[in-house]
């Protein structure tokens, strides 16, 4: 995040030169009705076409449509892009576009000296200032002095630019996001062509609105080009060296959906996806509901319990049963997940974690369901637990969840979170045909069949009802070894408990050994992460390593069972730091498993770690050096 340093004090296009920047963070913010999310998407498209690497994150308000002008009605979209690999959405914006006072208000705390702040002062009416909670006009009380404020009447300029398009005054105003976008396009030297084309495709059915938006876009761009605004910098961001191929943007929700679909196909199964709406898990259901022509049946159940039970029923019947939820909904599924453990059926449970406890902050992100994933059921009921590290990684880990569930006849919980679900990144579209397949072989041979007989990996056979001669009964009561009949025999219960335990542990033989993302086993410090902390940890470790510090980054995607070499690997480090968006859950597991003095770094604010926070923690560790 050394970006701002470089631009401080410079003005735009002095002597016709654009200011070089390695990476930049732009945040668009405005009222829910201001079209901020669309603006963000278009800027993302343009950024991708400019061959930058990038990461984006939308920040929706918790309320559906909060009253206009309020702080809790602010919608934002952040993009981090540049000429190197982008791993986070950026700690703080270099450029903030604030389309109303409330948008300025809620973002003020995130700005640093020198941040470029583009304000639509056309919206800075007294009423709006009051609604936003300003007692004084921030433009006048000096609170904006540290920033490079570009104060423009974007509302007015937009109205003028689209005056001839036949729109009502209210409709005209709704083009102001395109005006702002045009201006930012100029700042980053972007082509307008592709975005204009895309806009025509998207809004083609409303030609007046479409052309007005384009006019506003062009006007914004022209303003940058022609008006000499001393505070308005012009940047030059180099293209990143990106592996060649065809790309698209994916959110974690999309990637997860695609991964489940591909996983089911590679297993040779129909996907039966059973869920109940809940923030931020719903988008996964929405994406899949639109893809019902691609081999998925989606089922919106009456509640989360019915959803998981239907998924179990589907798996029992020989499809791939998947269920998905978040927070309270995952809690409700606890009992039924135990049933899947006992019946030893494949089941994928996607947990898009959100800030808790209880209803908590549904639209905010957190990683605080790890221990629940591991232990949140009655009895000793082990399941496999996985976590995706980035939006695109959701594709890979969804496939992995399917592979393990069907290969080991076990429930697998895949942990995502609110950040991953909504964040987007460029994704090199894989050639699905070349990805490994893991076809299921249903048991069909009655000869010697026993429903709870096991193979060498302790896996029992999967039988599709309808198969002649293999009729049998399963259920949640303790099962007799091999026969699967109900049993209250003490020795058998011990044996079966051990078998269920060891069966899940045996998955460790079927997953890769743990490797380091960066660094070597001989380094002094190891930062151990899991899930969506990947980006910030990775960036922080890279920075420190550049400075010559012996810091490694280890990132867990398999959380239970843990990779078989993990204990060995960890024992080599002097210090182990475990940053988590919870009160210390993975660190708890690692300490117990390996008796290593791992230290937690906890952040529970509903927001991802900032790179700077991790660097500070590493600094504190270094200071501790004897």
């Amino acid at each position: 995040m050394a970006v701002v340093d470089k631009v401080e004090g410079e003005t735009g296009e002095e002597a016709g030169l654009r200011q070089p920047l390695e990476t930049a963070v732009v945040r668009f913010a405005g009222d829910s009705g201001d079209g901020v999310q669309l603006t963000g998407s278009l800027f993302t498209l343009s950024t991708a076409l400019a061959h930058h690497d990038l990461a984006t994150f939308p920040d929706f308000p918790a309320e559906i449509r909060a009253p206009a002008g309020t702080t809790y009605g602010v919608s934002a979209f952040q993009i981090h892009f540049g000429g190197r690999e982008i791993r986070t959405i950026g700690d703080r914006p270099d450029v903030l576009v604030a389309l109303n006072p409330a948008a300025l208000k809620v973002n003020l705390g995130d700005l640093r000296p020198g941040t470029v702040v583009i304000l639509d002062v056309g919206s800075f009416t007294e009423r709006n200032l009051r609604k936003a909670g300003f007692t004084e006009d921030p433009r006048e009380d000096g609170s904006l002095d540290p920033f490079r404020v570009v104060a423009l009447d974007i509302s007015g300029l937009t109205r003028r630019a689209v005056a001839d398009t036949g729109l009502t005054s209210r409709e005209q105003l709704r083009c102001k996001n395109f005006f702002a976008l045009g201006l930012v396009f100029w700042m980053f030297d972007r082509e307008l062509g592709p975005v204009i084309e895309w806009t025509r495709q998207k809004f083609g059915r409303k030609p007046a609105l479409c052309e007005a938006n384009i006019a506003a876009l062009k006007a914004g761009h022209a303003l940058g080009e022609t008006a000499e605004l001393p505070q308005l910098p012009a940047f030059q961001v180099p293209p990143a060296s990106i592996a060649p191929g065809l790309y698209r943007a994916v959110t974690g929700s999309e990637a997860l959906a695609f991964g489940l679909l591909d996983g089911a196909r590679k297993a040779g199964l129909q996907l039966t996806f059973c869920s109940y709406p809940i923030t931020p898990a719903s988008p996964l259901l929405h994406v899949l509901a639109r893809l019902r022509g691609y081999g998925v049946t989606t089922f919106q159940a009456e509640d989360e319990i019915a959803a998981v039970c239907a998924a179990i029923g589907a798996s029992y019947a020989g499809a791939l049963g998947v269920t998905s939820s978040s927070g309270p909904g995952i809690s409700l599924k606890s009992e039924a997940i135990g049933l899947a453990v006992m019946t030893e059926l494949p089941l994928v449970i996607v947990n898009t974690q959100r800030a808790g406890p209880s209803t908590g902050m549904p639209t905010k992100t957190e990683q605080s369901d790890l221990l629940q994933a591991l232990y949140g059921r009655n009895g000793d009921a082990p399941i496999v637990v996985l976590a995706a590290a980035s939006p695109a990684d959701c594709f890979t880990m969804a496939r992995e969840a399917v592979r393990i569930a069907v290969g080991h006849m076990t429930p697998v919980m895949l942990l995502s979170d609110g950040f991953l679900a909504n964040a987007a990144e460029p994704w090199k579209i894989p050639d699905l045909d070349t990805l490994p397949a893991f076809p299921v072989r249903f048991r069909t041979d009655p000869e010697g069949f026993a429903p709870y007989a096991r193979d060498e990996r302790l896996v029992r056979p999967w039988v599709r009802p309808g198969t002649p001669g293999l009729q049998h009964r399963i259920g949640g009561l303790e099962k007799q070894h091999e026969t699967g009949e109900v049993s209250y025999d003490p020795e058998n219960h011990q044996r079966m408990t051990d078998l269920r335990w060891n069966k899940v542990l045996a998955v460790a033989e079927d997953i890769p050994e743990q490797t380091l993302e960066q660094g070597d086993p001989g380094d002094r410090v190891c930062v151990v992460g899991w899930g969506s902390t990947y980006g910030p940890i990775s960036r922080a470790v890279t920075t420190r390593r550049r400075r010559g510090e012996k810091v490694a980054h280890l990132h867990l995607r398999h959380l239970w069972p843990l990779p078989r070499n993990l204990g060995r690997l960890l024992s080599g480090f002097e210090k182990i730091l475990v940053p988590e968006m919870n009160k210390g859950q993975l660190v708890h597991l690692l300490r117990s498993q390996y008796l290593v003095p791992a230290m937690g770094l906890s952040k529970v604010s509903g927001r991802p770690f900032a790179v700077a926070e991790l660097e500070q923690a590493l600094d504190r560790l270094s200071e501790e050096r004897p």
């Binding site: 060649p244 022509g293 029923g313 019947a317 045909d433 009802p465 293999l470």
Partner: protein, 339 residues
């Protein structure tokens, strides 16, 4: 799922598991009736699945030589829905008790009925919690004394059939465990294309013996039961000398005596099994009025839930044409990065 080579007999549908209900439990009679129906319809044991919740009744799947899934308390309809979503070809029966389906599982029962997948759903109503030893059930009459209501229940009971009808069931019937025609009722439920719901009055000899004696007592059964026949007037009584007519104030059905000469017969309402309002009135009859036994409502929807979903999916596949998942990923904004 080929039909079995030789015709199976009722006892061929019994599994090898020892039946563990109390001696004299009404569940035995229901098991026999189900076995008879399976034989009658020539059910393929391999193509049939019994799904249940938890309770005495819910042990049922263990005793049938088909596929079976003994689920968790209250959730059998949801599990069964999943089974049908995955494989509409399977013949799926769902079994549960009054606690299982009307207390903890009432939500799933209601939503399954309104969605209407092709299931046969049997609710064994013994008006008590059998497996957990006699606690109060939501169908128990007011005043019931149980370990959890030692001073007598102060709750009004749910009526299973009224509940099912209000939830949108397209087939609702009521039977009695030891009733001769239980087989016929079960068969009708099974043949109904969609969810066939049957409440079975079942005697729990240990915790609630004689709960239905007032209705089932041989000697007086004809006076205390009415068996609606589609298209026929609603008559009952050993001499079929009583009938039901609509009360003029809309308060439901009332009894009239039919004269020896058939006088009054014209006022007796004819049973139409597709008449929802009438079914609701019939389901509501309680002693001293005759209790309605048999098929109360049978009005099939054009297509069952899982078939409707499949049809949508096929239409989608047709719309997409050749496009596969890989092609879909390439739709929308994409960009090429060249070396």
């Amino acid at each position: 799922m080929n039909a079995p080579a030789r015709a199976l007999k009722p006892k061929d549908y019994a599994s090898d598991q020892e039946v563990r209900w109390c001696a004299g439990c009404g569940d035995y009679a229901v098991l026999k009736a189900v076995e008879r129906v399976l034989a009658e319809i020539g059910a393929d044991p391999a193509g049939t699945v019994f799904v249940s919740g938890i309770g005495c009744a819910a042990r049922f799947p263990y005793y049938v030589a088909t596929y079976g899934f003994h689920g968790i308390h209250g959730r059998a309809p949801a599990i069964a829905t999943g089974v049908k979503l995955a494989n509409p070809e399977l013949d799926v029966w769902v079994i549960g008790g009054d606690g299982d389906m009307l207390s903890i599982g009432a939500t799933h029962l209601a939503h399954t009925l309104r969605r209407n997948p092709d299931l046969t759903l049997l609710l064994f109503n013994n008006e008590v919690y059998g497996l957990t030893k006699g606690q109060l059930s939501p169908t128990a009459p007011p005043g019931s004394r149980t370990p959890t209501s030692p001073l007598g229940s102060v709750e009004s009971p749910l009526s299973a059939c009224r509940f099912a009808l209000a939830a949108g069931a397209r087939f609702v019937a009521r039977g009695i465990d030891t009733q001769k025609d239980l087989t016929g009722i079960l068969r009708a439920a099974h043949d109904h294309p969609g969810t066939g719901f049957v409440e079975i009055l079942q005697n729990c000899i240990v915790y609630n013996d004689g709960a239905f004696a007032a209705i089932t007592e041989r000697a007086t059964a004809a006076e205390h039961q009415i068996h609606p026949v589609h298209g026929e007037p609603l008559l009952f009584g050993a001499a079929r000398d009583k009938g039901l007519r609509l009360a003029a104030d809309g308060s439901g059905l009332e009894v009239i005596e039919i004269g020896a000469d058939g006088a009054g017969l014209e006022e007796v309402i004819r049973f139409d099994r597709t008449n929802l309002a009438l079914a609701t009135m019939l389901a509501s009859l309680e002693p001293p009025l005759p209790v309605a036994i048999g098929v109360l409502y049978d009005n099939p929807a054009p297509v069952s839930y899982e078939r409707a979903l499949r049809a949508q999916e096929e239409a989608e596949r047709a719309r997409i044409g050749e496009a596969d998942l890989g092609a879909m990923l390439r739709q929308g904004p994409v960009w090429m990065v060249t070396a």
